[in-house]
């Protein structure tokens, strides 16, 4: 596991390909917050090291350190960041639109992402066969994306819930990236495809994407 190197108060323990880490990276970029990136290689099992478990009991990435405060779980981190650093708010002021952002975020974080993470895919691979992983993932992503298309059709503007980027977008962008990696046919999801195109134009999103991270395999620092 990488060790903190700088005196920067904000440190993010992250894996380049983790969509949960990507959500937080987008938020930090949007808010213009400097942070130290500390890679955790989940394929090598670094999330199970005693040091990391002390930071994050469940062993998942991301984990944020802000001085003496340690928070894991992307949803908790995002709401903490939004309250502590209110520049570039991540939630609309309208209570109804806020609720729709929470709903969209939670469709991703509870109904899609947990059902296609590494643990589950390994289980499917071992119990059935490696060939079953893709149908499983595509089924759950497809179901979630169908519901997001319907949920957001009455709210979307340039972005998921209007013409400003909000919490829902921070969850959608990394999930769409992951879906494309699993060869989900995005033509079925015209709204999400349009949002994906919009996100690709934003530096805060672009710079947070997996291939841009220091620990990505193509990076010279990895």
């Amino acid at each position: 596991m990488g060790e903190p190197q700088s005196n920067c108060p904000l440190k993010l323990y992250s894996y380049w390909r983790s969509s949960c880490s990507c959500r937080v990276r987008i938020a930090l970029n949007l808010k213009g917050l400097d942070y130290e990136y500390i890679p955790i290689n989940v394929v090598k099992g670094e999330q199970f090291s005693p040091e990391f478990r002390k930071l994050n009991p469940i062993g998942y990435v991301p984990a944020l350190v802000d001085g003496d405060v340690v928070i894991s779980d992307s949803f908790a981190i995002l709401l903490y960041l939004d309250e502590k650093y209110p520049q570039r708010p991540l939630l609309p002021t309208d209570i109804r639109k806020k609720a729709i952002n929470y709903q969209a975020a939670n469709i991703v974080s509870s109904s899609i992402q947990p059902l296609q993470n590494m643990t589950i895919l390994k289980y499917i691979e071992e119990k059935v066969s490696p060939d079953e992983k893709l149908p499983w993932v595509q089924c759950h992503i497809g179901k979630g994306f169908e519901s997001l298309e319907k949920l957001l059709q009455d709210y979307a503007g340039r972005y998921a819930t209007g013409d400003d980027v909000f919490l829902a977008d921070l969850f959608l962008a990394p999930q769409i990236f992951t879906a494309k990696g699993f060869n989900v046919d995005m033509n079925q999801f015209p709204l999400l495809s349009r949002l994906d195109e919009a996100y690709s134009q934003l530096p805060a999103f672009h710079d947070a994407m997996p291939e841009k991270q220091p620990d990505a395999p193509s990076s010279s620092t990895s």
């Binding site: 478990r53 009991p57 469940i58 062993g59 998942y60 405060v69 928070i71 894991s72 779980d73 949803f75 908790a76 981190i77 709401l79 903490y80 309250e83 502590k84 209570i95 109804r96 806020k98 609720a99 729709i100 929470y102 709903q103 939670n106 469709i107 974080s109 509870s110 109904s111 992402q113 947990p114 059902l115 589950i120 119990k127 059935v128 179901k143 979630g144 169908e146 519901s147 997001l148 298309e149 319907k150 949920l151």
Partner: protein, 195 residues
């Protein structure tokens, strides 16, 4: 204020055994909010009428006038903001608030979605696979919660008042013990004390 919430047009679509619905019922009760309980029978969540309310076909769904919200965490945070004075569901301290969000997320994203898959696991891999699956995911989540909360718990999960973490923990503990007969003594003692 009292008149407002007693005249509230809140409707809750709920299933009696659903731990997600249970969370919202707890929040509504804590805040003393009247609501119409609309029960779903099994299979009803796939009807066109219900899927119009919630495209992903899960309960609970809250209807507040013209606003329809699904997902227990979204509903609870909405209720907490709309009715802030009756039993606030989050502490004011930012760090403690974050611990509550984290605990809620561990249940919401790391335990319950996998618990929900148990029926599929039983069907695809056999009845003898169901309990190991449940024990693994519930056990892993409870072990993490045990560590997360040990420096914060008082009478309740994050102190001496009931907050968001408790609203997520109680139904999960109920499911683990009453529905799946998970051995809480083996898993941990402290969460059992909270329950």
């Amino acid at each position: 204020m009292e008149e407002n919430y007693k005249a509230s047009p809140l409707k809750l679509y709920s299933y009696w055994m659903s731990s997600c619905s249970f969370r919202v019922r707890l929040a509504l009760n804590l805040k003393g909010l009247d609501y119409e309980y609309i029960p779903l029978v099994e299979g009803q969540q796939y009807t066109p009428e219900f899927m119009k309310l919630n495209p992903i076909s899960y309960v609970p769904v809250l209807v507040d006038g013209e606003l329809v919200i699904a997902d227990s965490l979204a509903i609870i945070l909405y209720l907490n903001e709309k009715y802030p004075h009756q039993h606030p569901l989050l502490p004011t301290d930012l760090h403690k608030k974050a611990i509550n969000y984290q605990a809620a997320s561990i249940v919401h994203s790391s335990i319950q979605p996998h618990q929900n898959q148990a029926r599929y696991i039983e069907k695809e891999f056999g009845p003898d696979q169901k309990l190991p699956w449940l024990r693994y995911h519930i056990g892993k989540g409870f072990a993490a919660l045990e560590k997360l909360l040990k420096d914060y718990a008082g009478r309740y999960a994050t102190g001496d008042e009931v907050h968001l973490a408790d609203i997520f923990l109680a139904p999960q503990l109920y499911a683990a013990t009453k529905r799946f007969n998970i051995d809480m003594i083996v898993l941990d003692a402290r969460l059992w004390k909270l329950f």
